[in-house]
């Protein structure tokens, strides 16, 4: 199994004037390809900070971050966006779709960013929108989509350019349980069928069953790490896996 993300001795101090907050305090964590890691913990415990550092959006105060075996802590402001572009797809709690673009065009834009020609972008985006079960919503603007549909468009967008890593910050928090379930199934499949490393920040207990590993964070430290029983079961008996998530559409 390949290590997609590796962070070591990570600390992050936010300092604004006099006050300084130790948001991450000596974290070591590896995330493998094909694995879903759930970051859990109370509000303010440092989950988003950790996710942002793993996503090369935020620089750690100290420690090391390796993305697909490449040390990224020393990279310049110009090189970091390229790492995100090449390796990482993001899914946000608030979807962050572009309201003036249709569902399909949102995905096309992500492909355009990667320098893919517009004709090819359209072809790939059509495939991705289909993959998340929104074939007939390609030309619909986000304002006319339900929360669950928006998040599925966001997942299609995160998949544009086929990243090795998907990072999701509370992807189900704004969704009803049914949509939340289908989004989690999708993210699960991206790891298990697509071989991607998937890290999800959540404090929604319904997401637990989709995790291969649960990492509990408090006060910027990893409190405990465990493999949920259902994941142990999946490892032992393959048929259970298809039971949980048999299609990406869910």
């Amino acid at each position: 199994m390949q290590t997609a993300i590796s962070v070591q001795n990570l600390t992050k101090i936010y300092s604004s004037g006099e006050a300084a907050v130790l948001a991450i305090d000596g974290v070591n964590l590896n995330v493998n390809s094909g694995e879903v890691v759930l970051l859990m913990g109370p509000s303010g415990s440092g989950k988003t900070t950790l996710l942002s550092i793993m996503g090369c959006i935020l620089r750690p105060t100290s420690g090391s971050v390796r993305i697909c075996n490449r040390e990224v802590t020393g990279l310049s402001e110009k090189e970091l966006p390229k790492v995100r572009l090449d390796h990482i797809g993001f899914v946000f709690q608030a979807f962050n779709l572009f309201p003036t673009l249709t569902a399909g065009e949102n995905v096309e834009l992500a492909l355009d960013l990667k320098g893919i020609s517009s004709k090819e972008s359209r072809r790939l985006a059509t495939g991705l929108i289909e993959q998340v079960g929104l074939k007939d919503k390609y030309n619909v603007f986000p304002s006319n989509l339900s929360g669950g549909q928006k998040q599925r468009v966001a997942i299609a967008r995160a998949l544009a350019g086929n990243p090795d890593i998907i990072l999701a910050d509370e992807p189900t928090a704004a969704l009803d349980s049914h949509s939340g379930l289908s989004v989690m199934k999708m993210l699960h499949n991206l790891a298990h069928k697509g071989g991607r490393a998937v890290v999800i920040v959540s404090h929604d207990n319904r997401t637990l069953e989709f995790a291969d590993r649960i990492v509990n964070i408090e006060d910027g430290k990893i409190l405990k790490e465990h493999i949920p029983s259902i994941a142990r079961m999946r490892k032992g008996t393959l048929p259970k896996r298809t039971e949980i998530a048999n299609t990406i559409v869910g």
Binding site: T48, L51, S52, G55, I57, L58, K78, P81, K82, V83, R84, L85, D86, I88, F90, F92, Q93, A94, N96, F98, P99, T100, L101, T102, E105, E108, L109, A110, D112, L113, K114, S118, S121, R122, D169
Partner: protein, 374 residues
Amino acid sequence: MASLARRNLFHDKVRFAVTLTGIVFSVVLTSIQLGLFIGFTTATSNIIDNSRADLWVTSKELTHIENGLPFSERKLYQVLATPGVESAQKQIIQFGSWKRSNGAVESITLVGFNLDGVMGGPWNIISGSIQNLKTADAIIIDELYRDKLGVTHLGQTVEIGGYRARVVGFTRNIRTFTTAPPVFSSFKNAQNYGGLREDQTVYILVKARAGVDIKELKKELISRLRDVDVYTTAEFSRKQKFYWMFGTGAGFTVLIAALLGFLVGVVVVAQTLYAATVDHIREYGTLKAMGASNGYLYRVIIKQATISGLIGYAVGMAISLIPIYISQRGTTAIILPWQMGFGLLVLTLLMCIGASLVSINKVTQIDPAMVFKG
């Protein structure tokens, strides 16, 4: 690929309308003022530029063509005796006063020239001819000023400087910058109208022989003549333009109006583009998080500025063409050569892109970590 720039720009229609209004206002004001400036400048030196003379002999230290002082016509013979001179003739250009048939007095620009010469006469004659000026008291005026001068028909008689004058022809589009319309007549008539003595002239127009260096001839004339100045036609034209445009502040006024129009455009565009950028700040943050370089975001903003500029320019120019077109039939022409129209397009685009720099600065400062904030 649907353009994010275009979509975002057209999305907020009210703001886009404000942006366009700013640009259109700026383009219209700038083009009209620049057009007026060129129209005025052209009018100031019209008579010099169309004189067909190579050199002008004038009284000393004159500031503009309308205030030349008379000097003795003996200088004409000295000029004619100078090697390299093909021909030379006396010329009068000075203010005069015209009495309308109802008694009202108008200021005019007397242009008296040698009817048998080759320089200094009217052009664009649309009725009558220079030959008609040979009849007694004959004058030719420009049709643009018929109303101002109270002329209703050919053959009408009026009074200039206490002498009788009869309109025998009309020219078209010979404008003066001063409000004094041009009145063409024989040199002799103009002497009377202007109250000059019989042996006086105000200018001497000189034509050089083919192949003679005009600058050299000018030097030669200066060395031979006393108490006069000699200008090439180009120099005299420049001097005249400069006097009226900048000596009197008339030019500054129009140029400042043009500049103001331009600045208003910059401010409106900068302001609305900035507001649009702030409105879409989360999208720009998301793009950054997704891995977009600053350059990619700049292109989105510059594209918005460019689209606004192009549309604003097109609409503004379409509006400007109306007064420009109408002015061609009036005493004040707005002249906008295509080069200047093109220059204004470049300027408009620069203005819009320059105005977008504020927004560019804003997106440079976006911290992509904002995307995880609620």
